[in-house]
Symmetry: C2
Subunit: 341 residues, 2 copies
Amino acid sequence: MTTMLDVARRAGVSVKTVSRVINNEPYVQDALRERVKLAARDLGYVPSASARSLRSHRSYQVQLISHIMTTPYVHAIQAGAMQTCQAEGYQLLVAVLPDCDGDPVDMFHQRFERQMAMKKPDGVILVPPFADIDAVGAWFSEQGVAVAKIGTQSTLNSVLSVRIDEFAAARDLTMLLIEQGHRQIGFIRGRENESATEERFRGYRSALDERGVPFKDDLVVPGTFDFASGVDGGMQLLARSKRPTAVFASNDDMAAGVIVAGHRLGLVAPRDFSIVGFDDSAIAEKTWPALTTVRQPVLEFGTVAATELIRSFEAAGRATDSAVRVLDHRLVARDSVAKVP
Amino acid sequence: MTTMLDVARRAGVSVKTVSRVINNEPYVQDALRERVKLAARDLGYVPSASARSLRSHRSYQVQLISHIMTTPYVHAIQAGAMQTCQAEGYQLLVAVLPDCDGDPVDMFHQRFERQMAMKKPDGVILVPPFADIDAVGAWFSEQGVAVAKIGTQSTLNSVLSVRIDEFAAARDLTMLLIEQGHRQIGFIRGRENESATEERFRGYRSALDERGVPFKDDLVVPGTFDFASGVDGGMQLLARSKRPTAVFASNDDMAAGVIVAGHRLGLVAPRDFSIVGFDDSAIAEKTWPALTTVRQPVLEFGTVAATELIRSFEAAGRATDSAVRVLDHRLVARDSVAKVP
DNA sequence: ATCGGATCAGACAACGTTGTCATGTAGAAG
DNA sequence: CTTCTACATGACAACGTTGTCTGATCCGAT
């Protein structure tokens, strides 16, 4: 293994100068800088991450923390974050905290205290539902770790938040249904205690109100963002004698469930009922009919979060500006919505 | 931050003794061992990963390398591997190598040489298509990194391989179709140059031969394991005047595509044609009809690979036994297959 | 009593980098 | 011509752990 010392000898300078060149520090003359770079390239020198982080107390690692790993939403965020991390010379660590009851903050404390001490990540990316628990973000902040939250409304000081305007998106989507003549629109909620659930519902209600469509309590059923709960919700809504003409499922997986529920009842979308999802995840174009939905730039969530995070501790001296990045959403009209006859 | 020195002082021993206790090395008396453990617990001591790996030349990291991050197959493997790594005190790093032409070995060399030098992972997990390129596995082996390959037939010396018997699984699935009276069975292949593609095809052919069903060349169409290619393949097979009565798609995503292709042609499964997939991935139960398929224990692939990997460098002295782990598959009969009228 | 081996514990150096401080140089200001 | 400042470089220690080596103790066998 070639070390800084080897490079230093080859370039005829001290190790410290090599270090300065490698880390782009000032106070090295251009000619010398070039000589060192050349020597490093010649020898195929690569800095040792462990030595570097041992000495500098920085890990060059970003930790992504999620509840579950097998949802396309989390997956896409991971893909985006990884892309950025790789490009910037950071490493993305992925951790999953499985379900467990009790205080989430305690859980985090217990689970991450050890890891934080071992290998303090420079930053963490939090996705829902953790992003929605202020105390979790606050805890990491206290530990001196930069925090980026994804998809949440809740904004905390000194914490970056990346999301779309879920309210507006849900409102747009509902408007589309109303414009097609629907006035009986069922709604399947997401997991409770997540801001997305509430925002999407607010958007739905707002569109109703705005267009003078009466809101009916019994058209709203609970859900948990997963396929099975979509089937349940779909059965509840579609089995009625006077069933809604359209269903707004709070995400695509649940919307796929509603389609299946329809089939079980002998109903085919969009002939017998219209259905919309949310997220534009992979399944949205794999169902029949393909889902009309609203696209979140999920991959971009990941890249933006990672980029801002890295920027924030790269410029360590500057104050951590708690920014909120609201990215654009986009309505994706496919085949699951039809005009009311 | 509390260090070994703090623990040593508190327990009244030398740092080296603390090190021995922490790493479960022999030659420490039980009483002393307990005293040290107590002191460590009292102080909330956690070893520093960077110092440890700087000195011991081990990273306590396992690297998962995949082609693409957004497939449920890779995802499940990641989830399994992570689970094990977390439990064993290792960290799972995830890297994605996007498409690019040229020699894959060159690509790996270029992309990982730097990372290998910086933070030599103790082991790597390779998934298809990389698992199928012997030279890639060999390269890592040469670098002194333990290698585990997933889902590939190709076995290399001193490399662990975790998979199911794809041939037998495909054979079973085809048998099921034949038993339902199908004799015109279309087949959609996977990506070429992956052993899974060939093995599944071999299984299909073998079942045909065994039951005396004539094999027809024109019933086999190409595919790439993704949804869109399933739609294409489905269109090719089902649009014919004399269409097959069943289709074997080499994975579930493509099978979902065939269902959609059917709809486009006005055909409904399983009434107008039967369809089977492969993998039992998440989408298999989200389609209508739900897919009959064969389940690969993908999550277990991850856990087994990680476990064996860790075991292998934990017992560094022992010879690296190049094992092949063949896990059990299971036929999952859902609703996409019907008897031939 | 003496020896030999197994067991136990500690002193010390080393891993490869970066932070601190000291030193040297050149140009500007007095 | 001196003094000051800004820029350039290097010597050295330190980060927290583990590998190596040496020494001490204990037991049973000579």
